[in-house]
Symmetry: C2
DNA sequence: ATCTATATTTCGAGG
DNA sequence: CCTCGAAGTATAGAT
């Protein structure tokens, strides 16, 4: 990893055109071949960057990176304030929990927490327009199509409706019941869902964890 | 801007939970109050981060950042390899050109390039669920609703269908014709669009530029 | 390799 | 303030 702090100008030509007039910035060159140019604002996002794969040439105080697809990033260095290179070594990487995949897993393990007559048929039930998050049956044997989101918006409801439309073509499943499950459901999505006969359920992740694994709550 | 290179462990608890086991990483603290933790891979995206507004406390080799909403980022520094702070000053910022707005502008200027009997009624035609990209009429006087994307996916088709549903309530416009225009249209979006009676047109940006301003192609 | 769906998406515009 | 749509989206998983 190279940390280069310099007064510099930058141009990018590729999917769009972009220019940066001279100022002091951090040029971050990673071992993976990427370059990112950071200012002291714009939290976490670089002003300009280039992702691998790209070839990087440096000469005469100018760094030029090119991708095979014809994108070009050119950095002109006017004054170098700091230039250090460090060996960072391997990184085990990030472990995450609480993303949609876990949400779906937790709900699958306890569909009865949504409505007590629900039983799981299967997760990721395949259709020709993609997999349905959860397919269940209710107490009357009616097929229940469940779409799980962390944040539920109108597009998510549409996604559920597309699945229902497909599954309703199967006489063994029609007519399906649609259920939209999310940690947070936007008001407009709720209105839209209900106008389409889709039930909305907001769930609490911590509570669901407790339901699934009650041991965790005993200590 | 502070550039801190250290062997460190990190935990984040907030919208999700995330943990980083000890390794050497760059901790980037910007003047805007943000913190980003970078490894030598994952071009451009930090492993972990915290955006402003947040309060940052440092003591005993531990940095803790908290947002008002209850998110917490905790960095434990085990070994510091480099720790420099620099004054970067103001940055004029980035100038961009050539995004979807230009695409829409070019198509608006030459709707006849899509189908020769199309004439433009207006761009950004307002509805109560947002503006339609382009509203046109065809040779038979039928209203044509056009949605423009750079990359056209299924969600974009649904967006178009929602607009059509709204405009079809207006007797002066119903029944509308839907046209989905993009530089690239995903296969599933194409299938879905055609099953809904929506026409798909892939356009070439450079060619469209030539159509609109033929002078540019003469030199 | 390509396609699909998610993201602590982030970011900006508009109501 | 929220909501919506775009992003040089990036990234991970599945086909």
């Amino acid at each position: 990893m190279r940390l280069l702090v310099a007064r510099c100008s930058v141009t990018y030509e590729g999917r769009l055109g972009a220019r940066l007039s001279p100022a002091i910035r951090l040029v971050l060159c990673k071992a993976d071949g990427s370059i990112a140019i950071h200012s002291d604002t714009k939290a976490y996002k670089p002003l300009n960057w280039m992702n691998p794969p790209c070839t990087i040439e440096e000469s005469d105080g100018t760094i030029v990176a090119r991708t095979p697809k014809g994108e070009t990033l050119r950095i002109e260095l006017h004054e170098i304030l700091q230039d250090t290179t460090l060996e960072l070594g391997e990184d085990a990487g990030l472990e995450k929990d609480g993303v949609e995949a876990e949400l779906q897993k937790l709900i699958a393990a306890r569909v009865a927490a949504l409505r007590d007559d629900f039983t799981l048929v299967r997760r990721e039930y395949p259709t020709d327009i993609g997999p349905v998050d959860l397919l269940c049956r209710d107490g009357d044997g009616r097929a229940v199509v469940i779409e799980v989101k962390r944040v539920g918006d109108i597009a998510g409801v549409d996604q559920l409706l597309r699945y229902q439309e497909r599954l309703d073509r199967d006489p063994g499943l029609a007519p399906t019941l649609g259920v939209f499950v999310a940690q947070q459901i936007k008001p407009q999505a709720k209105v839209y869902a209900e106008s389409k006969g889709v039930a909305c359920i907001q769930i609490d992740l911590d509570r669901l964890r407790g339901d699934v694994d009650p041991d965790l709550t005993l200590f």
